[in-house]
């Protein structure tokens, strides 16, 4: 299923990734699931609360997720997935990503260097957790 993200939200993700560098950033993708496409309407920043090694790890706490869900529901929207950055690493899910992923959610990964975001790709965990299917990102 393609993921549609408008230019403004792409810019917001890129800005967050650059600001957080060299640490990983993370946030929520909020919008509408039409059944044929996920349409991102807004992105909400989250705090990376991983205890250490935030250059290579991120964590969004469950109560933050709960708040995102409630906020999205109040606006008649869905929590479609999450974005995070990979400082100086490709925009591809790692084994660590796979071990911690949830089905259904789109995982947008931004590969960010010291001066720019080099790549942004979206991934969906397979049902059997064996890997990911890449989702096309539409502008």
């Amino acid at each position: 299923m393609p993921l549609k993200i408008g230019a403004g939200d792409v810019r917001n993700i890129r800005d967050h990734a650059k600001e957080a560098y060299p640490e990983e950033c993370a946030g929520a993708l909020v919008g509408i699931d039409t059944g044929e496409m996920k349409i991102v309407v807004d992105v909400w920043r989250a705090e990376n609360t991983h205890e250490d090694e935030r250059e290579r790890r991120f964590l969004i706490e469950p109560l933050q997720i709960k708040e995102f869900e409630e906020r999205a529901t109040e606006r008649d929207m869905d929590l479609l997935g999450f974005y995070h950055s990979h400082p100086d690493h490709p925009a591809e899910p790692s084994e660590y990503d796979r071990e911690h992923a949830w089905p259904y959610y789109s995982y947008v990964i931004a590969s960010v260097g010291s001066d720019e975001v080099k790549d942004m790709r979206s991934w969906l965990l397979k049902d059997d957790r064996s890997g990911y299917d890449e989702e096309p990102i539409l502008g």
Binding site: R56, I60, F82, H84, H86, H100, P103, Y104, D127
Partner: protein, 97 residues
């Protein structure tokens, strides 16, 4: 029977339901019965050796069961368990030394 609130990513395995009722006297028993009744959930809730995955957080009302009695936390007919995700991940970068 206690209620279990199902997070968005798992509703595809519960026929779209955001809340289900499942028998159980403890949190562990209730979740185990949930996975039996909706087998598609099992791989996403439990590791291969039967432990709850670390990013699967279970709350009894507003309390994380880790701070109660864990899987042995008692649940009554009126209680509600909620499965709430943590979202975690990271790159394949080597550990900083």
């Amino acid at each position: 029977m206690p209620k279990v609130r199902i997070p968005t990513p798992l509703r595809q395995y519960t026929n779209g339901s955001s809340e289900v009722q499942v028998a159980g006297n403890t949190a562990g028993e209730t979740l185990g019965n949930l996975a039996e009744e909706y087998p598609g959930l099992k791989a996403h809730l439990y590791t291969g050796d039967g432990r709850l995955r670390s990013f699967v957080n279970v709350y009894k009302d507003d309390e994380d069961i880790r701070y109660l009695d864990g899987p042995d936390t008692e649940v009554s007919e009126e209680d509600e368990l909620s499965i709430i995700p943590s979202i975690a991940g990271g790159s394949a970068a080597s550990r900083c030394r």
